[in-house]
C-alpha cells in the first residue's frame, strides 16, 4: 500500500515542478498534470478497494514522527478512501475536460488545479483542526484562481464575492479554533471528540468552528455567492466545485460535528433540511441551466447535511446512507455540468440539442435518476434505508420534509429533461467534442458501477442482478437492431418469463401476470407496424414490464417498492415519447413519485425500520396486532397506489398521458399499467383488511372514492371530442369500478374487481388500438372530423362494436358478467349511498361509448376520407385476438375466475358462488352465460331470417339519399351530427365537470413558483449583501441556539 500522504506529496510536488517547465511546453505540462492526478486517483482507488475488501486496516499517518495530538496526523478509513477517490477522479476527468482552457492559461493554471485537488484531499485526510483551516484557505484561494478559467467575464465578480465571504468564514473559523484549543488544550479533532461539548460553556467556540464549516456548505439562504460561481464558472470547474469541493467540505463538517457531540445534531438537521427545501423551491424558477444545477447542488449537500444530523440513529448504516447520497450526487452533478459544457445555449430548452447524440440523452436521464434517487442508483438504496431509520425512531417530520423536497427536485429535474427531449432548439448544432463526451461517458459508467456496488452492499437484493431488469437493460445494447427484431425478442422475453414463472404464481398473481405479461406481449404485436429502429422505445417499455413482473412476485416491501419505481421510470419515458407528451409525462412522473414516496413512507412506518419486511405476513401482522400506526400505513399505501389507478383527485395526469401516447403505447399504459395500482390495493386489503382512523372505516372511504371516480370519469368522458381522451377518461371510470368492488370487502366484490382487471384490459386495449388505427389513417383524434368509416375500416369497426357492447355491460358479452357480479356484491355489503353514484354512472357508459362508435364509424363520410384503407394489419391482428378473447370470456368466465374465486374464498371463508356446469349461482341470483348467448343468438337469427323472408331486395342507396327536412344535403360537414354530441346532457349536469381538481393542483404549483420567484430576489448579486446575509445567518443561528440552550 502506498501511504495516502503521497496524494498530497505528489500533488504538491508536481505543482512546484511545473514551475520548471518552459512556459511554451504546454502539452508537456498538461501531460505532467494529468499523470500526477492519475497517480493520486490510483492511490485513493487502491485504498478504497483494499479497505472494502478488508485486506488492510484503516491507517493513521503520523507526521514529524510524533504522536498526535502533538503533531498533525492524517487518517484514512473507508469513508476517506471513497471520498478521496471521488475527489481525485473528478479532478482527473475535469483536467481532461478543461484541457483547452488549462493550456490557454498555461502551467500556472495547471498547478492551481493540482493544488486544489491536493487541498481537497488534505481536507478529507487531516485530523487536525488548524490544519483543516489551512487546507480550507488553500481551497478558497485555488477556487479563486480556477474561476478565472471561465470565458465568462462575470466570473471575476463571482470570484470576488466568494473571496469576500470566505474572509468572513476564515475569521470565524480562526476565532473558533483558538478558543477550542484553549478549552481543551489540543487541536486534534479526536481529542476534541474525547471531550464532547455541550451547548453551553465553551460551546461558543465550537459553535463558531461549526458555523464556519457550515457556511462552506453554502447553507440557504447564505449562499448567493456559490450560485454565482456555479453560473459563471467554467463547467469543468463547476463540476469540481460541486462534486469535489462540496463533498470534501461536507466530510470536514461531518468530522467536526462528530467531534462536537450529539447535542449539535438537531441544529445540523434543521440547517440541512432548510437548505434542502429552500434551494429546491427556488430552483423551480431557474431558466439558466448552470444556475439550476447550482441550486440543486446546494440542495443535495443540504440533504446530506440533514443526514449527518441523523447519524445518531443510522448506526453503522450511516456511511452507506450518507455516502450513497453524497457520492451519487457528486457523480451525477459532475456529469451534468460536463454535459452543460457541451451545450452551446444556456437556456434549459437549449439542451434539446443533446438529442443529436442518444448516448448523451441516456447520460442525462441516468444523472437525473441518480439525483432524484431512483433505482438502480445508490441514492435509491440510501433513501430506502434512511426512511426506515427515521420511521424506526419516529422522526416523521424529517421524513415528510425530505420527501417533499425530493419531490420538488424531481419536479424541476424532470421538467428539464422533458425540455431536452421535446423542445425545439434555436442553437445550431456544433458537433460535440469527442474528448468531452468521453468524460461524460466516464461519469456515466461510474454512476452505473456505483449503483451495482451499492446494490451489492445493501442488505436488500441488488437490482442490477435481477433478470428482468437486466433483460430490459439488454435493449440498450440492442438499440442498433431494427425494430422488428427487438420486438420479437421483447415478446419472446415476456411470454418466456411468464411461462418460466407460471408455477410459482397463486391464482391472483396468475390473473395479473397473465394480463400484464402475456397481455403485454399481445399488445407488442401491434408494435410491428413501426419501421426503422425506434430508438428509445424498447428500453423503457421493457423496464416497465420488468417492473410489473417483479411487482407481482415481490416478497418483501423492498422488492415491491423497487419494482414500483422501476415500472414508474419505464412508463415515464414511454409516455414522454408521445407527440405532445411533455407536460403530461411531467405530471405523471410527479404524481407517481409522490405516490411512491407515500408508499415508501407507508412501508417504513409499517416495518418500524426493521428490514427486510416480509410484505404479506408483515402487513397482516401489524393489522392483527392493531398497532396504532396500522391505519396510517393503510392510508399512505392506499393513496400511493391510487396515484396509479388514477382515482379521482389524483387523476389529472391520466387523460393527457394516455391520449398523447403513441398508438401501441396507449393500450400499455391504460390496459396494463393502471393494474399495478390495483394489484397494490389488492395486497393491501387482503393483508390489512378494514382499518379505522377514529370511527372512519378507511375501506368505506375507498368505496366512496371508487364510486366518485366511476361517476365523474364517465361524465367527463361524455364531453370529450378527442377519441383517445374519451377512452382515457373512461379508464378512470372503469378503474373506479374496480376500486369500488375491491373496497366492498366481500368475496363477490373482489371477484368483481378481478373481472374488471381482465375486461378492462381487453376492451380498453382493443379500443385504443382501434382508435389508434383510425388516427393513423385520418390523421386526427377529433371525432367530429371523422364519420362513416364503417365500410372503409370494417375490422376496426367490429372490434369497436364488440368493445363497446362488452364495456356497456349489455348481455350477452362479458361486461354483463361484471354488472351481475356488481349487484351480488352490493347486495352483500351494508353500504347504501355510494351505490347510488355507481347506479348513475352505469348508464352514462352508454353515452360516451355510443358517441365513440357513432361519430367515427356512422354518420356522414367526409370527402377527404373517401380513399382511406383499413388500419395497418399489425394493428388489426391483436384487435381480432381481443375480440375472440372477449367472446370466450363472455361464454366461459369460469375459465379465468373459478380458480381465483376459490382462492378468494380462503380469505373470507365463504363460497357464495356455485359453479354448476356452465351456470353460476350466487346467494341472490343466477346467471348462465351460455344459455344467454344461445337464446339471444337463436332469437336474433330467427328474426333475421324473418326479415329476409320478407324479401332480400334491399336496394343500396347513396350517402346523401336520406329524407332530410324535405331537402337533400350534400355536405358531410353540415350533415354529420357529432360535435358537442350530448349538448342537452351538458346543460343538465355540466356542473359535474368543473375542473376543480385541476384548479387545485394548478394552484399548488403556482404558489410554489411565485414563492420561489419572490424569494430568489434575496440574491441581489451584490457581494456586500451576500456578506451581510452570511453574517445574518450566523447571528440568527446563534440566537436560535441560545434560545434552544435556555
Amino acid at each position: 500500500m502506498v501511504s495516502a500522504i503521497f496524494i498530497i506529496a505528489v500533488g504538491l510536488g508536481t505543482a512546484f515542478l511545473l514551475g520548471l517547465v518552459k512556459s511554451d511546453q504546454k502539452g508537456f505540462a498538461f501531460t505532467l498534470t494529468v499523470a500526477a492526478l492519475a497517480v493520486m486517483t490510483w492511490i485513493a482507488y487502491d485504498w478504497t478497494v483494499a479497505l472494502s475488501r478488508g485486506t488492510v486496516e484503516p491507517a493513521t499517518i503520523l507526521t514529524a514522527g510524533t504522536q498526535p495530538p502533538f503533531a498533525i496526523n492524517l487518517h484514512i478509513g473507508l469513508a476517506e478512501a471513497w471520498l478521496l477517490t471521488v475527489i481525485n477522479a473528478t479532478g482527473l476527468l475535469a483536467a481532461f475536460y478543461m484541457r483547452a482552457a488549462l493550456c490557454r492559461l498555461g502551467k500556472g493554471a495547471m498547478s492551481v488545479l493540482l493544488v486544489m485537488v491536493m487541498a481537497l484531499s488534505g481536507l478529507v485526510l487531516t485530523r487536525d483542526v488548524f490544519n483543516l483551516f489551512v487546507f480550507f484557505e488553500l481551497i478558497v484561494i485555488a477556487t479563486g484562481g480556477l474561476v478565472l478559467l471561465s470565458e465568462d467575464a462575470r466570473a471575476v465578480a463571482a470570484g470576488f464575492k466568494y473571496l469576500v465571504v470566505s474572509q468572513i468564514v476564515s475569521i470565524l473559523l480562526l476565532i473558533g479554533i483558538i478558543f477550542t484549543y484553549h478549552a481543551n488544550g489540543s487541536l486534534n479533532i479526536d481529542d476534541i471528540a474525547a471531550v464532547p461539548f455541550g451547548l453551553q460553556g465553551a460551546s461558543l467556540a465550537m459553535f463558531l468552528v461549526l458555523m464556519a464549516l457550515v457556511l462552506e456548505l453554502k447553507p440557504f439562504p447564505a449562499n448567493g455567492w456559490a450560485l454565482d460561481i456555479y453560473e459563471s464558472a467554467h463547467p469543468g470547474f463547476s463540476a469540481i466545485f460541486s462534486a469535489a469541493s462540496g463533498t470534501a467540505a461536507l466530510f470536514a463538517a461531518d468530522k467536526l460535528v462528530a467531534a462536537a457531540g450529539p447535542a449539535w445534531l438537531p441544529l445540523m438537521t434543521v440547517i440541512g433540511l432548510f437548505t434542502f427545501l429552500g434551494s429546491n423551491v427556488l430552483a423551480l424558477k431557474q431558466d439558466n441551466d448552470r444556475r439550476l444545477l447550482g441550486y440543486s447542488s446546494v440542495a443535495q449537500i443540504g440533504l446530506v447535511f440533514a443526514i449527518v444530523g441523523q447519524r445518531d440513529i443510522l448506526g453503522e448504516g450511516y456511511l452507506f446512507v450518507a455516502g450513497g447520497v453524497l457520492i451519487t450526487h457528486a457523480v451525477a452533478k459532475a456529469g451534468l455540468y460536463w454535459i452543460s459544457g457541451l451545450v452551446p445555449g444556456r437556456g434549459l430548452a437549449d439542451w434539446a440539442i443533446l438529442r443529436a447524440n442518444p448516448v448523451l440523452v441516456f447520460a442525462f436521464a441516468s444523472f437525473v435518476a441518480m439525483l432524484v434517487g431512483l433505482p438502480p442508483f445508490p441514492g435509491f438504496y440510501a433513501k430506502w434505508d434512511l426512511m426506515h431509520a427515521l420511521a424506526g425512531s419516529g422522526r416523521f417530520w424529517i421524513m415528510a420534509l425530505i420527501l417533499a423536497g425530493a419531490l420538488v427536485e424531481a419536479g424541476y429535474m424532470f421538467r428539464f429533461f422533458g425540455y431536452a427531449i421535446k423542445r425545439e432548439t434555436q442553437e445550431r448544432f456544433p458537433g460535440f467534442a469527442v474528448d468531452k463526451v468521453a468524460v461524460v461517458v466516464a461519469a456515466l459508467a461510474a454512476g452505473w458501477a456505483l449503483g451495482f456496488v451499492w446494490g451489492g452492499i445493501s442488505l436488500n437484493p441488488n437490482l442490477l442482478t435481477l433478470v428482468p431488469v437486466l433483460f430490459a437493460l439488454l435493449f440498450i445494447v440492442l438499440e442498433p437492431l431494427p425494430a422488428w427484431v427487438k420486438n420479437i425478442i421483447a415478446i419472446v422475453g415476456l411470454v418466456g418469463w411468464f411461462w418460466f414463472r407460471m408455477g410459482n404464481y397463486d391464482p391472483l398473481q396468475m390473473i395479473f401476470a397473465a394480463v400484464m405479461l402475456v397481455g403485454g406481449a399481445v399488445i407488442l404485436i401491434a408494435s410491428f407496424y413501426e419501421h426503422g429502429r425506434r430508438i428509445g422505445f424498447y428500453v423503457p417499455t421493457m423496464l416497465m414490464y420488468a417492473g410489473l413482473a417483479l411487482l407481482i412476485e415481490a416478497q418483501t416491501s423492498f422488492d415491491f417498492f423497487a419494482a414500483w419505481e422501476v415500472l414508474t421510470i419505464g412508463s415515464y419515458f414511454l409516455i414522454l415519447r408521445g407527440r405532445m407528451g411533455e407536460p403530461h409525462a411531467l405530471s405523471y412522473i410527479l404524481f407517481s413519485l409522490g405516490g411512491a414516496f407515500l408508499i415508501l413512507a407507508g412501508f417504513a412506518l409499517a416495518s418500524t425500520g426493521v428490514q427486510p419486511f416480509e410484505l404479506k405476513s408483515g402487513l397482516s401482522a401489524i393489522a392483527e396486532a392493531s398497532v396504532p400506526a396500522a391505519p396510517w400505513v393503510f392510508a399512505l399505501l392506499a393513496v400511493g397506489f391510487m396515484t396509479k389507478t388514477a382515482s379521482i383527485g389524483l387523476h389529472i395526469w391520466l387523460p393527457g398521458a394516455h391520449a398523447e401516447a403513441e398508438t401501441d403505447v396507449s393500450p400499455m399504459v391504460s390496459g396494463i399499467l393502471l393494474k399495478a395500482g390495483l394489484y397494490g390495493l389488492f395486497l393491501l386489503v387482503m393483508t390489512m383488511g378494514r382499518q379505522k382512523i377514529g370511527s372512519i372505516d378507511l375501506t368505506e372511504v375507498l368505496v366512496w372514492i371508487g364510486a366518485i371516480s366511476a361517476l365523474l370519469g364517465g361524465v367527463m368522458a361524455i364531453f370529450q371530442e378527442d377519441a383517445k381522451r374519451l377512452l382515457a377518461y373512461s379508464s378512470i371510470s372503469q378503474l373506479g369500478y374496480a376500486v369500488f368492488g375491491l373496497a366492498l370487502m366481500n368475496h363477490v366484490g373482489w371477484l368483481l374487481a378481478l373481472m374488471f382487471v381482465i375486461n378492462h384490459y381487453i376492451y380498453k386495449s382493443m379500443l385504443f388500438l382501434a382508435v389508434g388505427g383510425v388516427y393513423k389513417r385520418t390523421g386526427t383524434k377529433l371525432m367530429y372530423k371523422m364519420g362513416g368509416l364503417i365500410t372503409l375500416m370494417p375490422f376496426t369497426f367490429v372490434s369497436v362494436l364488440i368493445g363497446i357492447i362488452a364495456m356497456s355491460g349489455v348481455p350477452p358479452l362479458s361486461g354483463f358478467g361484471g354488472r351481475w357480479l356488481f349487484y351480488n356484491a352490493i347486495m352483500a355489503s351494508d353500504l347504501r349511498l355510494p351505490m347510488v353514484l355507481i347506479f348513475i354512472s352505469g348508464p352514462i357508459g352508454f353515452l360516451y361509448l355510443f358517441r365513440l362508435i357513432h361519430t367515427i364509424f356512422f354518420g356522414q363520410l367526409k370527402d377527404e376520407h373517401r380513399k382511406l384503407k383499413e388500419a395497418p394489419v399489425w394493428l388489426v391482428i391483436p384487435q381480432m385476438m381481443f375480440v375472440l378473447a372477449l367472446l370466450a370470456f363472455a361464454v366461459l368466465p369460469g375459465m379465468a375466475l373459478q380458480k381465483v374465486d376459490a382462492y378468494i374464498g380462503t380469505f373470507f371463508g365463504d363460497q357464495p358462488l356455485v359453479w354448476s356446469g356452465r351456470a353460476i349461482t350466487s346467494t341472490y341470483g343466477y346467471w348462465s352465460p351460455v344459455a344467454v348467448m344461445v337464446v339471444i343468438g337463436v332469437i336474433f337469427v330467427a328474426v333475421l331470417l324473418l326479415l329476409m323472408s320478407m324479401g332480400l331486395n334491399a336496394q343500396k342507396v347513396k350517402q346523401f339519399n336520406i329524407v332530410f327536412s324535405a331537402e337533400r344535403p350534400f355536405k358531410p360537414q353540415t350533415t354529420h351530427f357529432a360535435w358537442n354530441f350530448f349538448a342537452p346532457y351538458r346543460k343538465a349536469v355540466g356542473f359535474l365537470v368543473m375542473p376543480l381538481v385541476t384548479t387545485f393542483w394548478g394552484a399548488v404549483t403556482d404558489t410554489l413558483h411565485s414563492t420561489a420567484d419572490f424569494t430568489r430576489r434575496l440574491y441581489t448579486g451584490n457581494g456586500q449583501t451576500y456578506a451581510v446575509q452570511v453574517l445574518v445567518f450566523v447571528v440568527a443561528v446563534y440566537l436560535i441556539v441560545l434560545g434552544g440552550a435556555q
Binding site: 351505490m835 362508435i853 343466477y926 346467471w927 334491399a954 342507396v957 343538465a988
Partner: protein
Amino acid sequence: MTFQWIQIPYALLTLFIILNYGMLMTALIQKIGARVGGRYGIPIWQNYIDLLKNIALRSKISHGVMFYLGPVFRLTGGIGLILFVPTIYGSVMHQNFSFAGDLILALYFVFFGTLGMALGAAESGHPHSAIGVSRGLSQVTAAELPLALGVFAISLQYQTLNITDIVAAQQGSIFNWTLFTNPLATVAAMFAFVGTMMRAPFDVVLAPQEIPIGPPTEYHSSYLALMQTNRVLYPIAKTVIYMNLFFGGATSWPEFFVKIFAIYMVSVFIGVVYPRFRVEQSIQFFLKWGLPVGVLAILMV
C-alpha cells in the same frame, strides 16, 4: 331449473298471446287517446292491418349492414326481454327462459334493442337519428336511475335477485305487494316507468322526425313491420317486469291482462295530461324528484 326442448313451444305460445294482446291493447289505448281528444279514433284491429300492409310492401332500401340489422336487434331485444322473464307465476308453461338469468339480466337486456337500433339508424347517416339517439340516451340514463334504485331496494328487501322468488314473496294478500310493503321503491320505479314509455312528457325523443327509436322515416316496409311488432311487444315486456316486481305478478292470464293494462294506463294518463319536457328538463326532473325518492327507498330498507 334447466332447459328442456318443450320449453320452446311454450315460449312461442307466450309470445303469441302477448303479441296479440299487445296489438289490441295499444290500439285500444290509441282509441282512448283519440276519444279524449274528441276524435273517433282507429278501429281496434288497425294494428293487424298496418302490420300486414308493411309486410306486403316489396320495396326496401339499405344504407349498409348495421342499418339492415338495426330492426333485427330491436325486435330481438323485445322478444328476448319477454322470454327472459317468467310471465305467469306458478305456471310451468310460461316460465320461458328465465333460467338463463335473473332480474339483472332482464334489466340490462332492456338496452340491447335500444343500442342495436341506435347503431342501425346511425348508419343511415341521418342527422336526426343521431340527434334522437343523443336525446334518448341522455334522457334514459336519468330516467332509469330511479328504477335501478327501486330494484336495489326491493332486492334488498327480498334478499334475492330471482324474479320468481320476488313474485312468490308477494303472493297471498294484495297487501304483500311491493306496492304496499315498499311504496317508496314502487314510486321510484314508476318514475322510470313513466319516463321510459316514450310518452309525453318524456317523448321529445321520438318527436316526429327524430327517429331512431320512434316511427322511422328511413325504415319502412318490412323493417317497419318488425319495429311495429316490437312497438307492441316491448312496452308489455317492460310492464311485465314492473308487474312482477311491484304488483305481485300474475298467476293467470286474465290477471295478467288486467294488471298490464292498468299499469300501462298510468303512463297514458300522465301522458295526456302533461306537455312535453325538453331533454335537459326531463333529466333535471328525474334527478330532482326521482333520485331522492329512490335514495330514500334504499335507505328505508
